[in-house]
């Protein structure tokens, strides 16, 4: 597959479609599976890794359903292309930075992504725009069944699907819902919300940033436990807190509008101006300002911008995407300039009337 083609399209999780997509950006489910006849990755030789990869590719040819998947040989990609796939959430950092035979199998619409030779032999991921937990499960369950028709996976009667790390054993399932919570951040309620989620064994991670630091007010809510509960129960646990979260965020937005409409309008105006007029701008500041614009559009504080445009800017101003657009590696200062130029061009003429 040609990655340059991929770079022209908006990825699935930024389509801004689906239920509650003003707050819920995307739903993602992944399943961890291992072949029964090979050691786990940590004890794999180069021969084993190559054997796993070729066996999986050969076996999937037996089912016509897999014919539409494109294979990307991650081992042979350069560093920029690997980071590009990480930014699109199609591969993990771990797969990008690993060594030896490893691949990505990808549906051209980017909804299904299968990593071969990550921490587990197989990591299946289904991504949907907006809040679509049931739909995502239906899809990944079907792919998983097809896969298990042609491959023997490691399963134990008591422990369920066996994984390299005991934190994933059992269902091997992780469901993550990505949410945009600028108003909860701005009203300083976010910490409290997270603590209550952690109390019911849900994990909260900031997107893009390391650890709990979130860039652009994007957060991912996911289950932490994988054993002793059915897939339906695990999905429900995440599924039932999300509406509450949406409700909190909407209330915080209403509160901001009611109490600080002027200030908020000014923030959106300033954010747009800064994005349009900078000569150099970091990825972090861009995310921060785009987050303000995104909320501003949803609160109808700006009628010139739209969400697809803002989402496109979120993605294309990421370091690897920017470098792909510019056709090659750039140093940090060059990137900050290129980002500013890109934003200037994309936002040209906007915000003129309001400055």
């Amino acid at each position: 597959m040609n990655l340059d083609e991929l770079s022209q399209q908006t990825c699935e999780w930024l389509r801004a479609e689906g239920p509650d997509s003003d707050i819920v950006v995307s739903t993602r489910i992944r399943l961890a599976r291992n072949l029964s006849d090979f050691p786990f990755i940590r004890r794999c030789t180069d021969i084993d890794r190559a054997g796993i990869e070729s066996l999986v590719l050969r076996r999937l040819e037996l089912r016509p359903e897999f014919a539409g998947l494109q294979r990307i040989d991650v081992e042979s990609l350069d560093e920029l292309d690997r980071r590009f796939l990480v930014e699109r959430q199609l591969i993990s950092r771990e797969l990008a930075e690993a060594e030896g035979a490893r691949s990505l199998l990808l549906e051209p619409n980017e909804r299904l992504a299968v990593m071969i030779n990550e921490e587990d032999h197989l990591r299946l991921q289904v991504m949907k725009s907006g809040l679509q937990i049931a739909e995502a499960w239906q899809s990944i369950d079907r792919w998983d069944n097809l896969l298990q028709e042609v491959l023997q996976v490691a399963f134990h009667d008591r422990w369920g699907y066996l994984t390299a790390c005991p934190t994933n054993v059992g269902t091997g399932l992780r469901v993550s819902v990505m949410v945009h919570l600028p108003a909860l951040v701005q009203t300083r309620q976010i910490e409290r919300v997270f603590k209550s989620l952690q109390k019911i064994s849900l994990a909260v991670r900031g997107l893009f940033g390391e650890g709990s630091q979130a860039m652009g007010d994007f957060y991912q809510i996911s289950n932490q436990l994988t054993l002793g509960r059915s897939e339906a129960e695990l999905l429900e646990q995440v599924g039932e807190v999300v509406p509450a979260l949406i409700d909190y965020e909407r209330k915080a937005r209403d509160f901001l509008i009611a109490s600080a409409r002027e200030e908020l309008t000014e923030q959106v105006r300033t954010a747009l101006k800064t994005l349009r007029k900078s000569n150099r701008i970091s990825s972090e500041e861009t995310m921060h300002l785009l987050s303000k614009l995104r909320m501003g559009v949803h609160l109808k504080l700006n009628d010139e911008l739209d969400i697809p445009l803002i989402n496109r800017l979120f993605l294309q101003t990421q370091p690897a995407h920017l470098q792909k657009l510019r056709g090659g590696p750039l140093g940090s200062d060059e990137r900050n300039r290129a980002r500013a130029e890109y934003l200037q061009a994309a936002l040209a003429g906007l915000g003129e009337g309001t400055t």
Binding site: N34, F40, N145, Q198, K199, I200, S201, G228
Partner: protein, 165 residues
């Protein structure tokens, strides 16, 4: 206001809502942190291992456990403890007792209740044999014993073919 669990001043005011019932809690920062900690157990394998190992083990027992190795993939418990990743599916059988208490720490559960493979699982004995042979082949190559390595490779191929794996 005083913390409901100790003598310090309450700075956290938490309202628990369960089935429509409201319960107000007034806690100091320390007790609140304790209260709000995830109830399901340790979040990462590192935390779980740390908790797991601190439970009444002498250093002699520790050292002995660390040397215990899986006969199939060869991983030692020490290597697992250090990197947090297992070496092969058989480790779940070989280290079952050790893993059980670790898994309880992580998940608070000891039995899978989810999906099962759509078709019957493969013969586990053949699977472990294949993993063991792959390791022997590597050892033969490392020892430059190429004749042995090629014999092992043929056995692997035969087993793979028989099982249509």
């Amino acid at each position: 206001m005083k913390c409901q669990k100790c003598e310090k001043a309450a700075t956290f005011h938490i309202t628990e809502i369960t089935d429509g019932d409201h319960v107000a809690l007034h806690l100091c920062a320390d007790c609140a942190e304790q209260y709000l900690k995830p109830s399901g157990g340790a979040g990462t394998v590192g935390e779980a291992l740390a908790q797991h190992l601190s439970v009444g083990q002498t250093s002699d027992e520790m050292a002995k456990l660390d040397q215990k190795a899986c006969p199939v993939c060869g991983i030692t418990y020490y290597e697992f403890r250090k990197y947090g990743r297992l070496g092969c599916p058989h480790d779940y059988v070989h280290f079952e007792a050790e893993l059980e208490s670790l898994i309880v720490n992580i998940h608070g559960e000891v039995r899978h209740r989810g999906k099962r493979p759509p078709k019957p699982p493969a013969d586990a004995a053949v699977a472990t044999e294949l993993i063991r042979l792959r390791r022997e082949m590597k050892e033969a190559i490392d020892g430059e014993n190429y004749e042995l390595a090629s014999q092992i490779r043929d056995r692997i191929r035969r087993l793979e073919k028989e099982g249509q794996r």
